[in-house]
Symmetry: C2
Subunit: 439 residues, 2 copies
């Protein structure tokens, strides 16, 4: 746990450097699997499922029986919890619906913008030790609200060839029933090219390990969109003497338990608080089942003291954290001035885990500084905006000359002609470009 | 000009295939320039400007004098035209502003979403025979409305080392004054890494040739976002007997003059109209200065007859055109059912060139079938959505157990603990997970 007192501005970029992710060396493997899946479809998928997941499946497709088994086996209290989270996530994403916007820019020229759902999407849910059913909620709920027609979920099978009950229950609760027991690179390749069983999709969402990340990047080369580039999860807390050190420590640890490459940063205008938080971490970390992972992440964590809120704010916007917790007296200052962050948590009773599970906000967020240019997953991630325009004869009289002059100046005569040919019919008296100043 | 009568559904994908773009062979060159610019900054930029643009510049930076010269030399009528276009584009993009959305998902749990501008962006404007000043309007106006702080424009110099007056005039009109005389791969590399003169940006916008396209794709690997993947421009017109064949022909030709790889498609439920349009094209094409280019594009164009509007609609959504013109009696059917298109033009007096220049909609649109998953450039292209949440003690009591149960089920004990440690203080009587059914 390293404390840094008043670092100089010129040292911020080195201080806040994220661990370098080397992706180049994975590209060969990813290219090879893509090539194979493109050529051999399900046969290749089976091969890699056997190779990477260590299981031979009769079929990729999750059966009705598995859904029913999941429904039976999950405890009532977990079901209630998942249902409550679903309600909140639904409420929040429903507020993000937008209506068509329309304006008559010039008399007779009506322009509008409408949203349409992306028709076919793929959701990737990682496997591993814990079933990330919360991510099913975060992706499936806005996809359903947007109205995506075909929603495909891929997730790797365990050694017994099964998918966790929690994932199946949550998926079905959200109305997703096309689930494939396929993980890793081969899942992304399957969604990219389509196979005999897996449909080709237009956009792929969801987290994953480095292989999945590189595979998603490669998918974009084949015309498939992705939600965002991924990196290790991260949390930055800004806190002063008004914060509760044990709460701050618990938030930093909740981030640290994700993995040894998680990023954990505390920025404070109080040296005392930094010290207290460090003591609390030492105390709390002992109790954690994922202690080893958390310890590694904490050993790379940064505790940064800065004298002014202004400096702290600049440093935070420079870093552009995925998760940003504000526990300070003057929270309004930080709320007004935060520009680069994925999701913001305010006050002593708003732990990051609330947003990870159940408050309603989405937990699929830009890491690795991408909050400088990317939004987290939201309703519009599942929509496209289309523009429309309808021009009347009068409208074309009003803007026709403007178009003709600009097209002429860009050397695009046929663009001009598409207007002139119409204007000649509407205004048979005029010849060529009429005098714009007479309009 | 090939007419296809009632093509079978299974043949649509081959019929509508776009010309393959081979990008692999450009990657070596692009990688090399990126590497050089990353290492050697402006020195490398100068080298490539000399190599690719054939000019040695004293400085990359456009001077005050050049702006003043542009202001003097552009004709008053073109200035008026550009100003009118600007007004319309501004009006339309202003309607796209959205307010903060907020909801109390559970009592005491307040979640909201707000947009913040991307702070630093780069606009790329291609050079070449004609100065594409209209693209300056399309990118600079929404960037200014969004509130982007640093807007950098890069565009290649001509052989005399100058930038077209129209580009300089339009840029200054839109409030862009940081212009660099740098084009091609080296411009994208400069914006990606930053040099002594060119600032590093977070997102790059704008069209370009294949080199620029590959360079933008490479930029994403270095953490820079881009507006969208690019491809040759394309237009699909659906028209029936109510359409005016000469207008339809003029629209198809306005697309065809962009280049020999432009895509031009007419879909019609009237064989007579197809024939008339073909005759009109033969007549109109003779007069065009860019006749050679247009002829090549027209020779690859498709004129597709289909018996029903339903079939036509399915084919159009399959193709996902960048530009889509509707000139049919039952335009409402197409408006209601179009899902995949960049921008839609309705009726006999709405030529595509209106949207290219002056009606108000944006002309930076998804090509190559990307309208299945991408929006055209719009106000939100320059914004990010950030989510916020503030939970009261009461709120945490209400959703705390839900979070604890879900975190526990995902095996993330520290996530659970961040809630438990707070609940223990708020509800000192309770121990561990309280009975969720008692809430």
């Amino acid at each position: 746990m390293k404390s840094i007192i008043n670092p100089k501005r010129e040292d911020w970029s080195v201080l806040l450097q994220r661990p370098t992710q080397k992706v180049e060396n994975l590209e060969d493997t990813v290219n090879q699997v893509f090539d194979d899946v493109k050529r051999n479809g399900d046969k290749a998928i089976s091969k890699y499922t056997q190779l990477f997941d260590g299981v031979i499946l009769d079929s990729n497709i999750v059966t009705r029986t598995s859904f029913e088994k999941a429904l039976k086996e999950i405890s009532t209290e977990l079901k209630i919890a998942i249902n409550r989270a679903k309600d909140n996530i639904e409420k929040f994403h429903l507020t993000q619906k937008t209506e068509k916007v329309e304006v008559e820019t010039t008399q007779g020229v009506i322009c509008w913008q409408e949203k349409r759902p992306i028709e076919k999407i793929g959701l990737y849910i990682p496997g591993g030790t814990a079933p990330l059913f919360s991510t099913v909620l975060m992706l499936a709920i806005p996809a359903k609200i947007a109205g995506c027609k075909e929603i495909i979920l891929c997730t790797p099978p365990n050694k017994e060839g099964n998918i966790a009950n929690e994932i199946l229950y949550t998926a079905e609760l959200c109305g997703i029933t096309k689930i494939f027991k396929v993980g890793g690179i081969q899942a992304i390749a399957g969604l990219t090219f389509g196979t005999e069983t897996i449909p080709k999709v237009y956009k792929i969402f969801g987290p994953g390990n480095q292989f999945v990340t590189v595979a998603k990047q490669l998918a974009t080369k084949f015309g498939v969109a992705i939600d965002m580039p991924a990196g290790p999860s991260e949390l930055l807390v800004v806190a002063d003497d008004s914060a509760n050190a044990s709460y701050v420590a618990s938030d930093l640890l909740s981030q640290a338990e994700h993995g040894s490459d998680s990023q954990v940063i505390l920025v404070s205008t109080s040296k005392d608080l930094i010290e207290e938080v460090q003591m609390e971490i030492t105390k709390q970390i002992k109790e954690l089942p994922r202690k080893d992972m958390a310890e590694k992440a904490i050993s790379n964590s940064k505790f940064i003291y800065l004298e002014s809120d202004e400096d702290a704010m600049d440093l935070i916007n420079d870093y552009a954290p995925e998760h940003f917790i504000i526990c300070t007296k003057n929270e309004d200052f930080y709320l007004d001035n935060i520009i680069n962050a994925g999701s913001v948590f305010i006050g002593n009773y708003t732990p990051e885990s609330a947003g990870d599970y159940a408050s309603g906000t989405n937990h699929t967020l830009p890491t690795n500084g991408f909050s400088k240019s990317y939004s987290g997953v939201n309703l519009d991630s599942f929509n496209k905006s289309i523009t429309f325009q309808k021009i009347s004869k009068e409208g074309l009289i009003n803007i026709g000359n403007t178009i003709e002059l600009m097209a002429e100046a860009e050397g695009l005569q046929a663009h001009k002609n598409a207007v002139s040919i119409r204007l000649k019919d509407i205004l048979p008296g005029e010849v060529g470009i009429s005098n714009i100043e007479n309009q």
